[in-house]
Symmetry: C3
Subunit: 263 residues, 3 copies
């Protein structure tokens, strides 16, 4: 930090297993990646090259190298896995992951329907190659999955070899974990957390109010995903109470009561 301020919450250091920030890179140029890293590399754990953007953005290898040098783990979007899988090209996808030496791979079924045992088989096979993030939740706003089913899916995918399970929200933050208005399905989240440790879940939360909600529930070191590049630093200020929305979280009561006579 640039200067001292006592009483801020501890944040785990990179490489960390909890308190992860997953950034959404949906087509950044090399220099834009450099810019983002120069201002905030220590706050970015994962860069997801969203949906199929990795296929068409210029200078892919150079971008992967840049992230690697900054200890940011890269991951292609789950939609790319689904495309290969749907076309019967799962083996080609496995080769692609090896070819680019991807430190992470996402397995999702947000746009296709596949048997859950097949999804788990994919997770299992890919976990022999690299670290797997699986994703639960449909991209279809009309496809509401009940809480008991979320729990069942998450547990089975972790058993199959997933490192963490992502709770779907899309870039818009309006499906899966959230209502179409962006409001958190708080009952769903609480039921999940009643059974599964929050550390095993990466919550997609692209909208500030959603980030605040999860930080208030689970603290500074909650795993949050689908963060836009220019929201990395604002999110970090939320995590450590440097912004109005979470200002009170890390103030002790004595300080709060003294606030009227602090000159």
């Amino acid at each position: 930090m640039n200067f001292d301020l006592p009483g801020l919450p501890d944040r785990c250091d990179k490489p960390r297993d909890n308190g992860l920030t997953m950034m959404m890179d949906k087509g950044l140029s090399i220099r834009q990646v450099e810019d983002t890293l120069s201002a905030s590399h220590q706050y970015i754990d994962i860069a997801k090259l969203g949906f199929g953007t990795s296929m068409i953005t210029n200078n892919l290898q150079q971008k992967l190298d840049l992230y690697k040098a900054a200890e940011v783990r890269t991951c292609f979007g789950g939609t790319l896995f689904e495309l290969f899988y749907a076309k019967g090209l799962f083996d080609d996808y496995r080769k692609l992951i090896d070819k680019y030496d991807m430190p992470l791979v996402e397995v999702s079924d947000g746009s296709i329907s596949m048997k859950h045992e097949d999804k788990c088989e994919c997770i299992s096979m890919l976990s022999e190659q690299t670290v797997v993030l699986s994703e639960v939740g449909s991209k279809d706003a009309d496809n509401i999955i009940p809480p008991y089913k979320w729990i069942q899916l998450i547990e089975t995918e972790l058993e199959a070899g997933a490192w963490k399970v992502i709770g779907e929200a899309r870039e818009g933050g309006n499906v899966g974990l959230f209502r179409s208005t962006g409001e958190v399905r708080s009952g769903l989240v609480e039921e999940i957390l009643n059974t599964i440790s929050g550390e095993k879940i990466m919550w997609e939360a692209p909208i500030k109010a959603q980030q605040v909600w999860f930080i208030k529930l689970l603290g500074a070191n909650v795993n949050l995903g689908n963060i836009a590049p220019n929201e990395i630093i604002p999110l970090e200020t939320l995590r450590v109470g440097l912004r109005g929305d979470t200002f009170d979280m890390f103030m002790d009561e004595k300080v709060k009561n003294k606030v009227n006579s602090n000159l």
Copy 2:
């Protein structure tokens, strides 16, 4: 593309006459233009220097040169034409287009009222200098133009010499082709397409749901405008089915049915 995936739709190559993407540059710096081009130059056909930004953004000539070198055609916003015209300075505007050797010029009447025969006369005169994009649709949300009138205006402007006619939406995507909520006036679009070839129209569609709607209606090679610089690559993934929203468009039925047993 960085790697192969069979079955994606064909996209025309640059310079193309259809399947155009018109980007909105509302004040990018030189290096920001370089960044955008380095990641995605092949997906950008036109850079519109929105409204009057060309007048006040530093380093205009250098920017025009950069776009030209990347085979991106530049265009001043229609509002600039309207300003010169309203002040009785149409001849000065013609000289300006020549001075900067603009490959495109936009003729619109979104903020002024002018006789349509005068607008067509402007289109005709400017089309002797360079390529003309004309625009139909008011920037005023309360000024609803009925479909038969849109068709009449578009046809007359094409006859007067316009290369394509732009359907107005503004940067916000909430007027002209769209309701104030951003919803497409689908009846209007369908009536227009019943008479006029979709290839002659550039649809302004700044919002993702609008882009998806037009791609589903007219395919990968629809002309789309008012695209933000950081949405160029996401739009291209929509065009070729690399994103959840258009994922199904380019899957053949055999693949769709096989999707449950693709290991």
Copy 3:
């Protein structure tokens, strides 16, 4: 300007005391600051390093130097003052302002409750070190301050030594001066202006419709704050009538009537 167009309103030159644009920098990298300045330095008067971002963004001193060289005055977010103050570290904050030789400091109470005489005492003490911007309005949407109270607070803070008083809106433009929908509390603004000169107030107005509203009310040289970096040039076009929304403001009646026969 890149070319001439008669009849645009006069804008004051930098360094100016009125017609200020305060940009919100919420974690820009060094190169992103350079980019913003290269395209538009003459339109940026103040760069606010929003809330506590100055504490965690890399290369702080280099950023401050860059802004200074471009004659852009920098300011830490008011939330940072509030954090130090709430923790009983006001003296440390004063030292921090000196250490970084900040040309501006913001004193606010948007997230804490403090006696107004204590706030004014802080304003007074800090105004001996540098130039003070104070801020009125809660970040809490449920905490509605009535107009007479706004006026009283503003007047007292100006007397205590504030150079200008900021009207709170947050980054979202949905509290303080605005309703939760973003709509201006126009009655509040008009009551304030009935007593206090508009030149003494910096209106936070992050949303375009809000900027248009204030420009229509107070003209090209109104003070506007919380402007995103990529909205600096679009805002400047609004100020001088180079965009549809304020197009008519600077057209004289003779021109408006002639508009139909300008070929």
